[in-house]
Symmetry: C2
Subunit: 430 residues, 2 copies
């Protein structure tokens, strides 16, 4: 396969600067929808006519974009996007220097992807593999966030970082209902990518895996979705695959004091390099949908402790009505069953976590002919020892929901504080 | 788990009619976004204030809806939606009467889902399993289409229909590059669900599988995606996971004469019950993305015969420029390599098919640590013996793309003609 021919083509080598995804969008705005110009068109239009980027295209672009750099990593208190691509990586290098190089390269790529730009400089040179795999070219940033953390194994003997392991980064204890499988558990590094477009989310993990070549390999991945914004312009709480609203009880992410209490590790917490970061727990929860679908609506509602349609606590009418576990019916029985999911997860209300879960559908379980579908549960907390773990211990023992679900994957990651421009992920640790 | 308590709750049993997904949307429009009313609210608002459905909500609803009934099945020449959930089923009943019952029930459910309505009547009764699994409640119709076909095994000895098997419904011959696996091949029945929302697409297959209980079981499923409309408001041709535009060469679906020639089986074709139907070929094509990503842009473009960025044939500037295989460079070599994908697929231009493919990402291949990602290739043709098969035979033997892809799943289905209101899928056959 010779490539000599193409080098002569106008449009392949005129531009000095690589064209970005946003450039393509702007051109579409300037040149009319549907007309996507070749690279040569950039010079032609901008040069000859002096056209500048249209304000409209630019602002819709901005509204659609979440900044990668900041005090905290994006993708934690950021309002949830429609899609998830989660990946756990294992490091294959034994050199902390190589890890640092990897994290720097990932930072640069992630910042570009959050902007909707192509990664790297070699996207026009016919004689090199393109820096960017290209499937997200021309797409809006779509609120892409990329959130990085390191697991307990990152602090084993390989990198001399054992002493820096946060006390809060514990291995999760076994929980009732666990049927964990290696193929969906653990990882030296965890990366959560969210975007309002699945192709963009896939693109991000694929390109991060590619950049990691020789330093880290994929350990496991999981795609996830919610209803898209287009299907629900009201922005109502999304439903999980059991048909119930999921996330109603989340703490208010706009309340900074609450987030400092519930989500963000603090400088006084014993691990200074984690200040402003958060601990992510990931659980792959398969739903036995076939069994669930055979239970009555009454049983389903008693299982969750909420009404299916409205999302309201049993005995109330509105989704956001307070969960009052003391309410009784005329026979003196609690309206919200004591072993229902909401009753146990809520408890006395003192333990809070920030849920950021996505439904998944991963084909079929070929052994049983049943759907492999459920929830990739993701939550963030300041200290899993005081939040997720005690909550899950209670749920694992008593939650009537356990009849219908199986936890088959599990991982925990210390997610770094945010990166300042010029810095890189993990620079407070490395 | 007693359910007595809930029966007394206002809002659970007041309505005579089940609430539909669209009703919920209308209420959201009437009552304000974010306020989702319990079922009791319907009567309260509509009764007391005499409010009618707002025109705006209704029209956005309509624009978002593809009619299930019609001359042809929807989902074939319908402009492609953003998501796919494909499922193949095997019949477990041996009675053609039971098959007919299944197809009638599927028709009713599909027509409801295309409208964005809940399935069935039992979605409020606490003492029954809900008719609808509920995860799509409150969502727009999102252009849902559900397209049904039957495979060659449907015409074996079980149902006495062997004599009705269309001659055009052949078992596909082996092709070069095939590494087919049972787990992604075949099926008595094939169902293609498309929607602009993944949760809705999943919901549809799940509910069809549920309705089939005792009559048919899932054989295999595959989720798929394209970039979402929101990420690309220009509506440009989507890119596949190799970064190239996919579908540029599709015939014009608005040209009825062309569709009659390329897509729709005709009454004179030898199988009267298939007139107005079409033959669907499904191929699960895994892309060796890691290998592809190591090849140069020049090699990639020579492999497809198109420029990556613009989608234009090599040597041309615009995506829709004609593919002229006779163009030569100054040394007399063809500009578009003769074994490139576009050159072989196009040939002399006489063979056309209608492609309707979706990218997929199905986690990882645990044996290799590589992405299990690629394309669920779907095409429709009037007669695969004259269209898909000869085209794929040429591609299987010579396509340089084969270095980077593996066909690991395969199926073919005779998709029924459209259903008239009051009829049911397959009624021309059964």
């Amino acid at each position: 396969m010779t490539t000599d021919n193409h080098n002569k083509n106008a449009g392949d080598s005129i531009l000095e600067k690589p064209i970005s995804r946003r450039d393509i969008l702007r051109l579409a705005g300037v040149g009319g929808a549907g007309l996507l110009l070749g690279a040569s068109g950039v010079g032609a239009i901008f040069g000859a006519k002096g056209t500048t980027v249209s304000g409209a295209a630019k602002s819709s672009d901005k509204a659609d974009r979440v900044e990668f750099f900041g005090k905290h990593q994006a993708g934690i208190t950021t309002p949830a996007q429609d899609f998830l691509m989660f990946a756990a990586f294992d490091l294959t290098t034994g050199s902390v220097d190589e890890v640092r190089k990897l994290f720097k390269a990932w930072t640069e790529a992630s910042a570009a992807m959050a902007k909707g730009d192509m990664i790297g400089e070699n996207n026009e040179n016919l004689n090199l593999p393109p820096s960017d795999t290209g499937e997200a070219a021309g797409l809006h940033p779509s609120r892409t966030t990329i959130t990085f953390g390191v697991g307990p194994t990152f602090f084993d003997s390989r990198f001399g970082l054992s002493s820096k392991r946060p006390a809060a980064l514990v291995d999760l204890p076994p929980f009732g209902g666990d049927e964990l499988r290696e193929e969906w558990s653990g990882g030296d590094i965890g990366v959560q990518v969210n975007a309002n477009d699945m192709q963009i989310a896939f693109h991000a993990i694929r390109n991060l895996a590619r950049i990691a070549r020789g330093k880290a390999v994929l350990r496991w991945t999981q795609e996830g979705f919610q209803r898209t914004g287009g299907a629900d312009p009201t922005g109502a709480t999304p439903r999980n695959l059991m048909g119930f609203k999921d996330g109603t009880g989340n703490p208010d992410t706009k309340n900074d004091a609450l987030m400092n209490d519930v989500v963000w590790a603090q400088s006084g917490d014993g691990t200074p390099w984690m200040a402003g970061g958060s601990y992510m727990v990931v659980r792959r929860i398969r739903i036995r949908v076939e069994v669930w679908d055979r239970s009555t609506l009454g049983d389903q509602e008693a299982t969750f402790g909420r009404h299916r349609q409205s999302g309201a606590p049993i005995g109330s009418s509105n989704e956001f009505d307070p969960v009052d576990l003391s309410k009784k019916d005329e026979k003196g029985k609690p309206l919200i069953p004591v072993h229902s999911h909401v009753a146990l997860a809520r408890g006395d209300g003192s333990i809070k976590i920030l849920r950021r879960s996505y439904s998944y559908s991963s084909g079929m379980d070929n052994r049983t002919g049943q759907f492999d579908a459920g929830l990739l549960f993701i939550c963030y907390n300041r200290d899993a020892r005081k939040q997720f773990i005690p909550m899950q211990q209670k749920l694992g023992q008593n939650d009537v929901l356990n009849e219908y679900i199986v936890h088959n994957g599990s991982a925990v990651f210390a997610c770094f504080p945010g990166v300042r421009e010029g810095g890189y992920i993990g620079d407070t640790l490395l």
